[in-house]
């Protein structure tokens, strides 16, 4: 059974703290994604990685960075957390594009609150 796991389900941090969100997939997928989900806005792509050490900015990369040192692991870093980064963060992985696009497999999400 395919699996994407995220290090924490709930996280509370203070403004200005450095925050690490970890994501691990066991499907040997090349692609990994970080999204944030806010009510009424759907999912918005923060960063995408298509290979180890490779990354591309998504639609809302400001205030975030990522790291992919191993194929199975993709980390999202908030260098200095702010209250407007309070959100649900979802990690996903997929194979490279096939004839039917990408099927993305999502983790359960991390609900981050920044106070």
């Amino acid at each position: 059974d395919v699996k994407v796991t995220q290090s924490s389900r709930y996280l509370v941090k203070r403004t200005g703290e450095k925050v690490f969100l970890e994501c691990v997939q066991d499907m040997d997928h090349e692609n990994m994604f970080w999204y944030r989900q806010d009510p009424g806005l759907g999912l918005r792509l923060i960063y995408f990685s298509y290979d180890v050490k490779m990354k591309e900015k998504g639609d809302i990369p400001e205030g975030y960075s990522v790291s992919r040192e191993k194929k199975e692991r993709f980390s999202l870093i908030l260098e200095s957390a702010s209250t407007n980064q309070t959100s649900m963060y979802l990690c996903a992985s997929s194979l490279p594009r096939g004839g039917l696009g990408y099927e993305q497999y999502f983790g359960p999400g991390t609900r981050l609150t920044v106070t």
Binding site: V4, R9, N31, F33, Y35, G40, L41, G42, L43, R44, L45, F48, Y50, G58, D59, L90, A92, S94, R97, G99, L100, G101, Y102, E103, Q104, Y105, F106, G107, P108, G109
Partner: protein, 111 residues
């Protein structure tokens, strides 16, 4: 900025009723996906449609991709409480990794 608007935003219906959820954009998509997300979980893929006018059925769920590949609909026949969840459409931009997600439709089916 490309947008995918879903309607309605919220829907509460009785078990056994039919419903349709719409996903609309002014942009053309290479493919379009529908996901369902249950509380405390990540979205799970229901279907991918790639051809304009394509219709796919998944038990009581019928998905249609618009002829111009700008819009899609999800029709549920005889809804059941197990259909409760957040439904998300996602359109693929070009032939890339990038999907634009819709704003979501939160469905509640009452027994």
């Amino acid at each position: 900025t490309q947008l995918l608007e879903q309607s309605p935003q919220f829907l509460s219906i009785q078990e056994g009723e039919n419903l349709t959820v719409y996903c609309n954009s002014s942009s053309v998509f290479s493919s379009l996906q529908w996901y369902r997300q249950e509380p405390g979980e990540g979205p799970v893929l229901l279907v991918t449609v790639v051809t304009g006018g394509e219709v796919k059925k998944l038990k009581r769920l019928t998905f249609q991709f618009g002829d111009a590949r700008k819009d899609s609909s999800l029709h549920i026949t005889a809804a059941q409480p197990g259909d409760t969840g957040l439904y998300l459409c996602a359109g693929e931009v070009g032939r890339t990794y990038k999907y634009i997600f819709g704003t979501g439709t939160r469905l509640k089916v009452l027994a």
